[in-house]
């Protein structure tokens, strides 16, 4: 383990407390600290921190900010449905509600900069202010000017302010075409297996020994490490399955030290967890209760794929599937029975759909309003998708959005051999 964080600009006690909360991230935290510099010094205008999910980005930044008592605001970009929210949050936490109320109804970037400047001249900062932006990848979808402006906000507002962007995506995917100020990049690598073990073991169950718990974590990682390195998720799984792990010990059958026996007991359970609760096929509540009324009966979400549809809707869906996967020129080969029904204008897929429908459905069907409304309800159910514009009345185009398995199941219920009609088979 690397040593305690050190930096001349900050109180040693605070740093010690912070580094205690940042196991296995000492290097990154130290690097960040040295980039930030001493509180009253100007920091680099923008920092860009990237790394996979649950690699400790927000955690490190937030712990440092909190423990070192730095003026900062943390903004989630998902939450900022409009820039106004972003501006408001920044102004409120730096200058109070009065400043935020100065913003006009739909503020522009220059409104924000103007008010910020005005406020900062009233309340000049003694320390660097930090704006931490989580899920910064969403900034790419925002106004094109927003990201470049944020990157050089220090210069625009003439204040000791620094923007820290947190993202799961590398900087290369951010860079606008027109170029912009380049932030300093800081990478958070994934936790290694040993690091995960170390961190997870730290949160042991209070009534069990540390060795016992870390042997449990070891087994857990043995099963899950190949599929999941997300710390948060692993911790969740550890909590869910620990009671099962303890069962033989609690019953007095096995001693805490007999790791192999414990492993034999828990391993199938964990394997099952990987297929169910990890994929959220089964909710964690159900998973915990399942132990009581024993195995298997619980079916996952994706096991329920059966959809009951009205009779004609089934055929409409079948026709849509055929129209989606067969080339139009082969329609004649498959569906022309007696009359030349399909010789109509080809580029109108609704007609094509109906033509196939009328030839696959076994009885004579009148083209009633309900048939047409069934098509639109299939669209609502996302079984068909409308490809052309909504407002196109005369010849809407559709796509069939179901899988072969699904359509085969549907066809079986109406005794229709779909494979016979598919060009590919």
């Amino acid at each position: 383990m690397a040593g305690v964080l050190e930096h001349p600009g900050y109180d040693g006690e605070k740093l010690r407390r912070a580094s205690k909360q940042l196991p296995c991230r000492e290097v990154q935290a130290g690097m960040l600290l040295s980039l930030m510099g001493e509180p009253q010094q100007f920091c680099y205008p923008s920092l860009f921190i990237y790394g996979h999910r649950a690699s400790g980005k927000s955690h490190v930044v937030n712990v440092l900010m909190k423990e070192l008592e730095l003026p900062h605001v943390t903004v989630s970009c998902v939450e900022c449905v409009s820039v106004a929210l972003l501006f408001e949050q920044v102004l409120v936490s730096f200058f109070g509600c009065d400043a935020a109320s100065l913003l006009p109804r739909s503020p522009s970037l220059s409104d924000f900069v103007r008010i910020y400047k005005q406020q900062t001249s009233k309340f000049p900062s003694q320390q660097t202010r930090y704006i931490v932006m989580e899920q910064a990848e969403l900034l790419r979808d925002a106004n094109v000017n927003l990201l470049p402006a944020l990157l050089r906000l220090q210069e625009l507002v003439e204040d000791n302010v620094s923007v820290i962007l947190l993202s799961e995506i590398v900087w290369d995917k951010f860079r606008p075409n027109s170029g912009c100020f380049e932030p300093l990049l800081l990478h958070f690598p994934d936790y290694s297996k040993a690091e995960l073990l170390h961190i997870l073991s730290a949160h042991r169950h209070p009534s069990h020994s540390a060795e016992f718990y870390s042997s449990y974590i070891n087994i857990l990682l043995g099963v899950f490490y190949t599929v999941c390195r997300d710390l948060r998720e692993l911790q969740h799984l550890a909590a869910l399955n620990f009671s099962k792990f303890c069962e033989p010990v609690a019953a007095g059958k096995v001693k805490e030290t007999e790791t192999h026996k414990l492993w034999k007991n828990i391993e199938p359970h964990l394997k099952k967890a990987m297929q169910t609760v990890y994929l959220r096929e089964v909710s964690s509540l159900q998973w915990e209760q399942m132990d009581e009324h024993e195995t298997g009966a619980l079916r996952g979400l994706s096991a329920h794929t059966h959809v009951e549809l009205p009779y004609y809707s089934k055929f409409l869906l079948i026709a849509a599937y055929l129209a989606s996967y067969n080339p139009a020129r082969t329609d004649k080969r498959f569906f022309v029975k007696t009359s030349n029904h399909l010789l109509g204008p080809k580029p109108f897929p609704l007609d094509r759909l109906l033509a196939i429908f009328y030839s696959v459905v076994d009885s004579r069907v009148a083209p009633t309003a309900s048939i047409f409304s069934q098509i639109s309800s299939l669209v609502t159910l996302q079984l068909l998708t409308l490809v052309s514009h909504d407002d196109q009345l005369d010849s809407p185009k559709y796509k069939c959005a179901v899988s072969l398995d699904f359509i085969s199941a549907i066809s079986r219920t109406v005794n229709f051999d779909i494979v016979k009609y598919l060009y590919d088979f």
Partner: protein, 698 residues
């Protein structure tokens, strides 16, 4: 149609009740009669409505109960401070409610669900529909508006009146605002109120036993105002009514945001799923679905629902109004083939009811027996004459008996009740194959099954009053007693079985295939020739009895006198009203205009369109004769020729067929009408051509 969203009919109903009576005067001189018919009709409809609502509540109760249980459980486990719950990732409790593909039918379920929730779990319920939530901002706005009961500021829309008005700063749509609001709401509640709430809870727990029906809807206001909840922090429930239709991105973002506030805001989701639960995973990636704790709730299938509705409304003596076989078939097939909508089925029933009372003057007799007798005495001479004119009027018979039949129909438990009812309505039951197979099945039944079946029959017959039925019941019970005695006797004397077992023993010795066959045959014969066991004798007796019962009482209603009074039979009307055919009717209007404008002079013998028909009919006929692309000039020429022939201005042979301005204008109008109706459209391939959009014409 199927999943078409219709505006609620409630409003219209109230305003026009008075005028409606006037429409019932059809074929009836006395206003008295029409009034009674109207009253009867309304009464019956109201009864049907309350019955179906009760039924709906009852059917939903199980699922709603478990949902409520789930919400309670979630909100109570949330605050356990033990190790496991601290370590666990905080997940938003989510109920995936699978309701079947007919989305408009779900409205009622969701309404009662949110009523119940606000009654017994939490006052904070918001329900969202996908069409209101195109973007995250709108979704937020809806949630905040519903929960906080205020108007939320939204920037872009008000930009018009932006200019001079003083900028009033209202809350932004963010969950932070909601969070603050929630905190102030829960903290502001003084302690004394809490104690009072606990008291209310206790009272409610006592009354809880019978909460399901009117108690909830009538006292709904009171409930929600007192915000009954034992916890200090009632959950905030957000219902997504039609999950499939939501934009996945919006949904994902919203869930991400919500998960950030979960520690301060006890959120809970309910997803209304129309197709299958796997859609949840299709919509949400693992990173988002891992924020949810999804539990599945499956509702009753719609076919089962329909069966109960039919049981309750049609296969029951309490409603005098009946449908005949064809109408029933139309309604059921609309349900099965088109929409799976129970609500539409009931709408169809309502239509039939209205039509019946509207068009059948004798329908005033269609009510309970006692009332009918009173009505009968008031019949005038004209009415009696009308009765005499009824095709079925040969004898007068109490209508009570017809209703008994309906009960009898439920006897045969093997056939699906619905189908049997249909068959019963169409022809003599005993002629149908199904019945015969059922009888065969009956003959082969084991003892226990037979007994239980007969007991069921007896139960069905129990509440009936007429003498015939009582007789039948007595006989049935005798049979049952005999069977039970036989049970006891069979144990003491297992002699008959010995005969059977001996050839089986022989069988084991023989390995030759031919021999085996022979013995099997022998065995069969010996069994047949063997004296019937007492059980078999009794069984046959029972079967014959049931058979005779059915033959006696289950004759088709058409054969009964006066069936017109109770049975509505115009299936064509129902079909026309419920299953509209826009394309066919437009085509019919264009190809045979004489029917539509009721002008026989336009009719021609060979069914073609006459020259004098309206312009659009002529244009339509000519367009049928052309190919995929229609040359407008050729079309105009042809049109002008036809029209000139009709006008018969043979005096000027040079001018015949010449295009004058009027004809030109008429043609243009006809063409644009056809374009409006969707028969043709402009094409970019050739500027002076239009493309034909119809097919199969020639």
């Amino acid at each position: 149609g199927c999943f078409v969203f219709k505006p609620s009919a409630k409003k219209r109903k109230k305003t026009t009740t008075v005028d409606l009576e006037g429409h019932f005067t059809d074929g009836c001189e006395g206003a008295e009669n029409s009034k009674t018919r109207f009253k009867l009709c309304l009464d019956l409809w109201n009864k049907i409505k309350t019955e179906t609502e009760d039924l709906q509540d009852e059917l939903n109760r199980n699922i709603l109960d478990s949902l409520l249980e789930f919400t309670r459980k979630c909100s109570s486990t949330r605050r356990h401070g033990n190790w496991a719950s601290q370590m666990r990732a905080s997940e938003i409790p989510t109920a995936a409610l699978v309701l079947g593909v007919n989305v408009p039918d779900h409205d009622m379920t969701f309404q009662s669900l949110s009523e119940l929730l606000s009654c017994s779990v939490t006052p904070h319920v918001a329900s969202l529909q996908a069409k209101e939530c195109g973007a995250l901002k709108h979704l937020m706005k809806r949630v905040l508006e519903q929960l906080m009961d205020t108007v939320v500021d939204e920037e872009e829309e008000e930009e018009v009146q932006h200019s001079g008005a003083p900028l009033h700063k209202s809350i932004h749509c963010s969950l932070k605002a909601l969070c603050d609001w929630y905190c102030s709401k829960t903290k502001a509640r003084p302690r004394s109120v809490l104690i009072m709430h606990v008291l209310v809870v206790m009272v409610l727990l006592i009354t809880d036993v019978c909460w399901q029906k009117s108690s909830c809807s009538s006292s709904g206001k009171k409930c929600s105002s007192s915000a009954v909840d034992e916890q200090q922090q009632p959950p905030v429930v957000i219902i997504f009514k039609d999950l499939e239709a939501f934009n996945p991105k919006v949904l994902q973002d919203f869930i991400l945001i919500c998960s950030r506030y979960l520690d301060r805001l006890p959120l809970m989701f309910i997803f209304g799923v129309a197709t299958s639960p796997s859609t949840v995973q299709r919509l949400l990636p693992h990173s988002v679905s891992s924020l949810l704790c999804i539990e599945l709730f499956q509702s009753l299938s719609c076919t089962q629902h329909l069966t109960t509705v039919i049981d309750k409304l049609i296969l029951t003596p309490s409603f005098p109004f009946k449908l005949n076989g064809k109408v029933m078939q139309v309604l059921v097939s609309i349900f099965l083939y088109h929409d799976f909508s129970v609500r539409n089925f009931i709408k169809g029933l309502q239509l039939a009811l209205l039509e019946h009372f509207h068009s059948q003057p004798l329908s005033s007799l269609c009510c309970r027996k006692k009332e009918a007798q009173i009505q009968l005495q008031q019949l005038g001479a004209a009415d009696l004459e009308r009765i005499r004119q009824l095709p079925s009027f040969h004898r007068f018979l109490k209508e009570q008996e017809q209703q008994d039949q309906d009960n009898l129909r439920t006897d045969d438990a093997y056939l699906k009740i619905r189908e049997l009812h249909l068959i019963c309505l169409e022809k003599n039951v005993w002629e149908s194959e199904d019945y015969q197979s059922a009888m065969k099945l009956l003959k082969m039944l084991a003892k226990e099954e037979l007994i239980s079946l007969l007991q069921k029959c007896a139960e069905v017959l129990q509440p009936l009053k007429s003498k015939k039925m009582k007789n039948a019941l007595v006989q049935l019970e005798e049979l049952l007693d005999k069977l039970k005695q036989l049970n006891a006797a069979a144990e003491s004397a297992p002699s008959g079985e010995e005969n059977l077992t001996s050839p089986v023993k022989n069988l084991q010795k023989k390995t030759d295939l031919f021999q085996l066959q022979k013995t099997l045959l022998e065995m069969n014969q010996s069994r047949r020739s063997k004296k019937m066991s007492p059980f078999e004798v009794l069984r046959n007796e029972a079967v014959e009895f049931v058979d005779s019962l059915v033959k006696n009482h289950l004759s088709p209603p058409e054969s009964k006198p006066l069936y017109e009074v109770c049975y509505y039979s115009s299936s064509a009307t129902v079909r026309r009203h419920l299953n509209a055919t826009p394309r066919t009717s437009i085509q019919a209007a264009l190809s045979s205009p004489h029917c539509y404008i009721q002008n026989d002079s336009l009719a021609s013998e060979d069914g073609s369109v006459s020259n004098a028909a309206p312009d659009i009919c002529i244009a339509h006929k000519l367009h049928l004769e052309s190919g995929r692309l229609i040359n407008l000039y050729d079309w105009l020429e042809a049109y002008s020729t036809v029209v000139s022939a009709a006008e018969g201005d043979g005096s000027d042979p040079d001018g015949f067929g010449k295009v004058d301005e009027v004809k030109h204008a008429r043609f243009i109008r006809a063409v644009s009408e056809m374009e409006f109706l969707g028969f043709i459209k402009a094409t970019k391939k050739k500027t002076d051509h239009v493309a034909r959009l119809t097919w199969g014409g020639c």
